[in-house]
């Protein structure tokens, strides 16, 4: 990395750093090259061949996602040869799966659909040959419809290279190739921890969030960036809000630290408590053995009064504080400060130690 290299893309002179791929430098310069199997932060697979570009004058095609730049390289991103190749790949994918967008959760947010639209393909030249896989519907979080799978391997790479759960891999070969957990098991019967990273990675409707099914189209969804409330790591995520309700949680690698686009199953799938009818909306005070709704003022007043009397009777060390991993560092700091300075005890601990 580092050394400057100059090359030409579509007639434009461009400076790149050695070690960069053609795709990366094209992106930086606002030159669009479509991709399918490319997924940031994972090893380039070179599998879909959609990102091919023509190099030199001999008409050699190379996948831009995994071809490093070299000095004096002449790259063309949209020659007839390139377009022919892309079109054929798109048509092969279209005709080898069940791409009936009407019932697809990804409609409007699908990289294959975008590609076919971009290439202006009316219909594939090949006959459609449906794979005939059964839709996997055995867990409440992830729906798998391998009839829409384009075998880009993004789910495998994210599961193995980033999450390192190593649940997924390719099995079989040729056109029988499949992505699956070991022994072709359903997710629920595998070692899957339901982090949902593979769903975020899937460019098509093969892996979708089940809870969001029929709860809103992609273009109706508002993404609200927030910090996951579950633990102190502070993962960044997008609540997908439709019709005033959170229907799913997605992530964004560009948010960077601390989670770089990854979540655990709580942040990913644990948001339905928001609208749960059992959820407490006011403080409750037990009076005469019964929990009664109270205002915040009443509740705080009650706590302060009780703490003061206990402290007076049995001393500050008769009180202990237990804080939560779901609080932020700042909140935990305040809490221990409160215990030490206001209550006057060092009896303070944290649920993460339990």
């Amino acid at each position: 990395m580092g050394n400057k290299i100059s090359l030409t893309i579509d007639g434009k002179k461009i400076e790149a750093s050695s070690g960069q791929t053609i795709l990366e430098i094209a992106k930086e310069n606002g030159i669009h090259i479509p991709t399918l199997c490319y997924y940031p932060n994972t090893k380039p697979a070179g599998a879909c061949r959609v990102c091919v570009v023509e190099i030199g004058t001999a008409g050699k095609l190379e996948a831009s996602c995994c071809t490093p730049v070299s000095p004096g390289m002449v790259v063309q991103t949209n020659t007839e040869k390139v377009m022919n190749a892309r079109r054929m790949v798109a048509e092969l994918l279209w005709s080898s799966g069940n791409h009936n967008c009407l019932q697809c959760e990804k409609n409007g947010d699908c990289e294959l659909q975008d590609l076919i639209y971009e290439l202006g393909i009316e219909k594939p030249r090949f006959e459609i040959d449906l794979p005939g896989y059964e839709i996997e519907d055995t867990n409440s979080m992830i729906q798998r419809d391998l009839n829409k799978c384009i075998l880009c391997g993004r789910c495998i790479r994210v599961c193995n290279e980033i999450q390192v759960h190593e649940v997924l891999d390719f099995s079989m070969r040729g056109s029988h190739t499949k992505v699956s957990p070991a022994f072709d098991a359903d997710y629920i019967d595998s070692e899957c921890v339901f982090c949902g990273a593979c769903v975020d990675a899937c460019p098509v409707g093969a892996l979708t969030f089940k809870q969001a099914r029929f709860k809103g189209r992609p273009w109706e969804m508002k993404k609200v960036r927030t910090t996951c409330p579950y633990c102190g790591v502070g993962c960044q995520m997008d609540l997908n809000v439709s019709d005033g309700k959170v229907v799913k949680v997605t992530t964004n690698m560009d948010y960077g630290k601390p989670n770089h686009g990854m979540l655990c199953s709580k942040g990913r799938f644990g948001m339905n408590f928001i609208d749960n009818s059992d959820r407490l909306k006011t403080p409750l005070i037990r009076m005469d053995g019964e929990l009664k709704a109270a205002s915040w003022e009443e509740a705080y007043g009650y706590i302060a009064e009780k703490f003061a009397s206990i402290k007076e009777k049995d001393g500050p060390d008769s009180i202990a504080g237990l804080s939560s991993a779901r609080c932020t560092n700042e909140e935990n700091y305040l809490f221990q400060k409160f215990m030490r300075a206001v209550i006057g005890t060092n009896n303070i601990d944290h649920c993460a130690r339990l």
Binding site: C66, S96, E127, S171
Partner: protein
């Protein structure tokens, strides 16, 4: 699995720099322990011992065809129906066995005695039809011999196989010991001057050996014809990583059965070649990647390596035999490297090239058996002697395997540039009327009879004639063969073997298979013919690995050159 197995696996794992490489050998051991079948429990157990995730072990198991994830009969009859078999009656044998055993292909008899499978090329093209029963090849079969075989198996006896095969040599280099019995023995090999070249090697600098190989201009015999010396020159200088040498003994290209002539009958020639080459490139570890079906040949090699070691020939290099498990694509050098690392045989994206980042991320040279077996001659007799053989730019001896419609199919050693006509005459001449020839293994464009002229069998002449010398596997086709049927069988092979990684390879081969299936069953259209041609044209140069070209080129040639036969199918249908 018991402790003994675990120990055996650990022993095997010690042969490799990474324990994960023991996955394939371990699966083989587990399968043998369980009546030739791998249950999910077996796979899990192996994954645990070797230290890989279950998903990976399962992915590997289902990739290679020699791992049975369904139980098979006591005798697994595997009929090679690839092109050479197809041309010499393999399908009649399949039909006969179906009737005789009362099962379909893929089925097992009720008594659990027989499973019948139709398999891809077994590297036995000159001795087709061939049926592999468990680990044993039964070659040169006829319907009568098949009956005898089945009867014998029914009585619980594996008969002695008939190992006859034709051969001939004009150069006396690669096949010089082919006719000598016991040449597999090191004393016999040494009596004929064996290991003298290695002795000479040790008196020279590694760089001098590299220079000799460069000077000889020997081109790789595995298929691509790339100059070996130039490849060796790509190894990085000032490199602190280990360097590996891999001898490619996958012999998977249909029509090719040449490397086994060396390995089976003169293994020390190849081992000496490996020993010299390893010294030259500074490899302390070398692997022989041999196709899993050649089990008995792998045993011959291991035995020869033991002898050579004992004889003090291999103090500078450790040679490990790694057995494949049923995959054509694993002959491609990067897929082969993945396979040694204990993975699915999915070819890698290039660059980086193996010479720089290969096996275990280290510089690696992959050369074919025949290429490496030429090295002792080059070193011993010198560059000038080597260059006296062959034609300008195409030097040295070459093994030509002739199969299909000839009277004496076999392997014949001639100088590069020998006329195809001469080779065909040596192979007993064409049976019937010549229609076409595939001169370099199935992945090269077919030549019509009238295109052959005085074709010289070397890299440049074949290229000029619009085809390729490839592996030198010559398949001869007479006018009883329908080219559309040939094309369908060809694409069935590639669709079956494609690793499934890239879209044009995976879906392209399947789509062409569907289209050719429609045409041959009389349901096709003229438009289908054009779609095939168009698809082949686009696939060339587009796939992740050269396998795309390997099917697009021959199919395109068959359809374009014999278009009339395809159109007739439309008219008739």
């Amino acid at each position: 699995m018991n402790e003994e197995t675990e120990e055996r696996v650990s022993e095997l794992a010690n042969l490799y720099p990474s324990r994960k490489s023991a996955l394939m050998p371990a699966l083989e051991i587990a399968q043998r322990k369980n009546n030739n079948f791998l249950s999910n429990e077996d796979i899990k157990e192996v994954a645990k011992i070797v230290g890989v995730p279950n998903s990976r072990a399962f992915g590997v198991t289902t990739y290679y065809t020699m791992y049975n994830t369904k139980p098979v009969g006591k005798y697994h009859l595997q009929v090679d129906t690839n092109i050479p078999g197809f041309l010499s009656g393999a399908y009649e044998i399949v039909e006969h066995l179906k009737k005789k055993l009362g099962i379909e292909v893929g089925g097992t008899t009720g008594d659990g005695l027989f499973t019948l499978s139709s398999v891809e090329d077994l590297g036995s093209c000159g001795t087709c039809p061939v049926v592999q029963v468990n680990d044993t090849y039964y070659e040169n079969l006829t319907i009568e011999k098949v009956d005898e075989l089945v009867e014998s198996l029914k009585s619980g006896k594996m008969p002695e196989p008939d190992t006859f095969s034709n051969f001939g040599t004009e150069c006396n280099i690669l096949l010089k010991n082919r006719g000598i019995s016991d040449a597999t023995d090191i004393t016999v090999y040494k009596k004929g001057g064996g290991y003298e070249a290695l002795k000479k090697t040790f008196k020279m600098q590694p760089s001098e050996i590299v220079d000799m190989v460069k000077g000889s201009m020997i081109r790789g015999r595995g298929g691509a014809g790339f100059p070996a010396g130039v490849k060796w020159g790509f190894l990085p200088k000032d490199n602190s990583r280990p360097v590996y040498l891999i001898c490619n003994a996958d012999e998977g290209e249909p029509g090719t059965f040449k490397d086994r002539q060396i390995m089976q009958y003169d293994p020390h020639l190849m081992i000496e070649g490996i020993a010299i080459s390893a010294y030259a490139i500074g490899a302390e570890k070398a692997f022989i990647y041999i196709r899993g079906e050649f089990r008995w040949i792998a045993d011959i090699l291991e035995n020869a390596i033991r002898q050579a070691k004992k004889d003090g020939q291999l103090n500078h290099v450790d040679i490990v035999v790694h057995r494949g498990a049923g995959s054509y694509v694993c002959g491609e050098e990067t897929a082969l490297i993945e396979s040694i690392e204990g993975k699915r045989g999915n070819p890698r994206v290039k660059p980086p090239f193996p010479a720089n980042v290969g096996l275990y991320g280290s510089p690696t040279i992959v050369n074919n058996v025949e290429t490496l077996s030429c090295v002792p001659f080059i070193v011993e007799k010198g560059v000038q002697e080597f260059k006296k053989i062959g034609t300008e730019g195409n030097f040295g001896p070459k093994l030509y395997g002739v199969s299909g419609h000839v009277n004496k199919p076999g392997v014949y050693e001639y100088p590069l540039g020998t006329s195809l006509k001469v080779i065909l005459e040596t192979a007993g001449g064409v049976k019937g009327n010549l229609k076409a020839v595939i001169v370099g293994g199935l992945s090269v464009p077919i030549l019509k009879a009238d295109e052959i002229g005085d074709l010289k069998m070397d890299y440049d002449s074949c290229a000029k004639a619009g085809t390729m010398l490839g592996s030198g596997g010559i398949m001869v086709i007479n006018d009883t063969m329908s080219i559309p049927e040939l094309a369908l069988r060809t694409i069935n092979f590639y669709a079956h073997e494609c690793c499934g990684q890239c879209v044009p390879g995976r879906e392209g081969s399947k789509t062409i298979k569907v289209l050719l299936g429609k045409l041959t069953s009389g349901e096709g259209t003229i438009e289908n013919i054009d779609t095939i041609l168009d698809t082949c044209d686009t696939i060339k140069g587009l796939t992740l690995c050269p396998t795309g070209d390997a099917f697009a080129m021959p199919i395109e040639a068959m359809v374009a050159k014999f278009r009339g036969e395809f159109e007739d199918l439309v008219k008739r249908g």
